[in-house]
């Protein structure tokens, strides 16, 4: 099935992305979500909360302040990125794979006036919105443990959604590459786990060796962590615009990769 993509795929001239097409696909997801929100929400919220409590209490008893923050403030804001990552990359990978391979949902959708670009954008958008909202939950838990509420926190779902779009598209892209659903294990161990650990969530990345802290700048999740901290504790305009730009570029690149990959899989 991994034949050369060139002559066999649809002409990739720029087609308009129709909001109505995105809306229809999102409507399907939302209808489905009404059935499953309990289980989906549970797993994407509980895990980051456990990390928060484990690090907050375990590590927090050893170090009082990190990078100029109380540790609970440091990890309570950084943990948003973890929740967003789990809430976007995993549904992107598993959900998309199941819908494409087992349920043939995408075959049904592409027989209607919806193109692969729109399908991928809508799926990523829906996951992004969801993960943006879910990402706030561990932060609320942190508030219960001493993180000071601030108005900037209202921007956190937006930051989460921007980050979540890229990671959802990343997951969709990966779902079009792996030969079977079992292969996600490799991606999770080799890509997702390092990204989540080395994002400045639990410890500052400038404590790492020089090469590693430079590499961490390429981690989109790091930009999410920094943006959330800025939103909560105060922006520094130029740096934060840089973070937004990094996340936006990440989102667009992942979307393009995901579209290419899924089209090769869905259009024979």
């Amino acid at each position: 099935m991994s034949a050369p993509v060139s002559s066999r795929t649809a002409p990739s001239r720029l087609r308009r992305i129709e909001p109505a097409a995105l809306g229809a696909v999102v409507f399907r997801e939302a209808t489905m979500f009404r059935r499953y929100w309990r289980s989906t929400t549970f797993s994407s919220v509980v895990e980051p909360t456990i990390y928060l409590l484990a690090f907050g209490f375990g590590f927090g008893s050893l170090v009082a302040r990190v990078a100029g923050y109380d540790y609970i403030d440091f990890v309570g804001t950084g943990i948003v990125a973890t929740a967003v990552l789990f809430g976007s990359a995993f549904p992107g990978m598993f959900g998309t794979f199941i819908k494409r391979v087992f349920q043939k949902t995408y075959d049904a959708v592409l027989a209607t006036p919806v193109d692969t670009e729109e399908l991928v954008a809508a799926e990523a958008l829906w996951i992004a919105l969801r993960s943006g909202v879910l990402g706030v939950v561990p932060m609320l838990v942190a508030i219960a443990f001493g993180l000071q509420p601030s108005w900037g926190m209202l921007l956190v779902p937006l930051i989460g959604a921007l980050t979540g779009f890229g990671f959802a598209a990343f997951g969709i892209w990966v779902s079009g590459i792996v030969p079977s659903i079992d292969s996600f294990g490799y991606v999770i161990s080799a890509v997702v786990t390092p990204l989540f650990l080395v994002a400045g969530t639990f410890f500052p990345i400038d404590g790492l060796p020089g090469w590693a802290s430079t590499a961490a700048l390429l981690n989109p999740l790091y930009h999410c962590v920094e943006l959330v901290r800025s939103a909560v504790f105060g922006f520094s305009l130029l740096t934060d615009l840089g973070h937004v730009a990094a996340l936006a570029v990440f989102g667009v690149v992942m979307w393009l990769l995901a579209v290419r990959r899924l089209r090769a899989r869905l259009v024979l």
């Binding site: 795929t9 209607t112 024979l268």
Partner: protein
């Protein structure tokens, strides 16, 4: 060579072509396999074309080409006047597709499935509920609207699969083996549904294994084998052309059947085997030598099935 009407070279790209769809010299390969191999096919607007062919003939691949879910290596495709795949989206907006493999959302209810498709097909908000209700009636599932698809019988699922493709009142419907595996009564119901579509002027392309279905529903039949159309015409014309008007059928042991085949071959008449019998086609043209040699033969009118088996060498259900 293909016995199809003249190509439409002047079809306006606004969906008003007199051809429902047309394929010209279409080739689709999967590696070394030529699944569609120089296919020429036209479906006139408002007619039902039955695509008959054995397993692997390329029927489903052809359907995918028409929705741009497969892209041809060679040839040109036009659907409702739109070139495909270039303007496939516009064409898809006006067509309904019933796939061979059921891809309903089994965890959603009947109504939710239809609501999703009403949106995918861009029905305006004001007309959506009415369209969903109408589709429920078409599927005869109004009473089960809030049942999860998972809990429907096979026949109900198939009716929903068809109704889902009709929710936006398409001008063209692709049906890929719509009645396979259904009991005769449900099949009758689906036939009535296709009949209703035709009387509304909807263009239908329907692939099937069931000869009876093609005879009953299709204005024209295309017999497909190894990726191309090997015979085309109305069921009656095809039957007469390839099998004549009458058939002599002889039942007997293998030795007797061999003998019958020899006699027919000597007179230049085609034959076909069906289990314990051999059928001599074009019997109306049989010389006395043949009829005299076959006193045990039963005479019956020829059927499309005779043609199908003769042309494809396949048994049929």
């Amino acid at each position: 060579m293909p016995a199809t009407p003249a190509p439409s070279t002047t079809a306006p790209p606004d969906g008003t072509a007199s051809l429902g769809l047309s394929l010209r010299g279409v080739v689709k390969t999967f590696g070394a396999l030529r699944a569609v191999d120089g296919l020429d096919l036209d479906v006139r607007a408002g007619t039902c074309l039955g695509l008959l062919g054995p397993n692997g003939a390329g029927k489903s691949t052809t359907m995918r080409l028409l929705t741009a879910q497969a892209v041809a290596d060679e040839g040109t495709i036009e659907v409702l006047g739109f070139p495909v795949p270039e303007q496939s989206k516009q064409a898809r907006a006006q067509m309904g597709v019933v796939p061979q493999q059921d891809n309903l959302d089994i965890e959603l209810t009947v109504r939710q499935n239809l609501q999703v498709f009403a949106r995918l097909y861009r029905l305006p908000r004001a007309g959506r509920n009415a369209a969903v209700e109408r589709a429920l009636e078409v599927a005869q599932l109004t009473g089960r609207a809030d049942t999860r698809v998972d809990d429907l019988s096979g026949g109900m699922r198939r009716r929903l699969l068809i109704a889902r493709a009709l929710v936006h009142r398409p001008r063209l419907v692709l049906l890929d083996e719509p009645t396979v595996g259904l009991d005769p009564q449900v099949r009758q119901e689906l036939w009535a549904l296709v009949d209703a579509l035709r009387s509304e002027g909807v263009t239908v392309l329907m692939s099937t294994h069931y000869i009876e279905e093609a005879e009953r529903l299709a204005d024209d039949v295309a017999v497909m084998s190894a990726g191309r159309v090997i015979a085309f015409g109305t069921p009656t014309a095809l039957t007469v052309e390839h099998a004549g008007s009458r058939v002599l059928e002889v039942y007997g042991p293998p030795s007797r059947l061999l003998e019958v085949e020899r006699v027919a071959a000597a007179a230049g008449l085609p034959t076909r085997r069906t289990g314990p019998a051999v059928a001599v086609l074009r019997a109306e043209a049989a010389p006395a030598a043949v009829t005299d040699a076959l006193p045990d033969a039963v005479v019956r009118p020829s059927t499309l099935e005779d043609v199908f088996v003769l042309l494809t060498g396949e048994k049929v259900e």
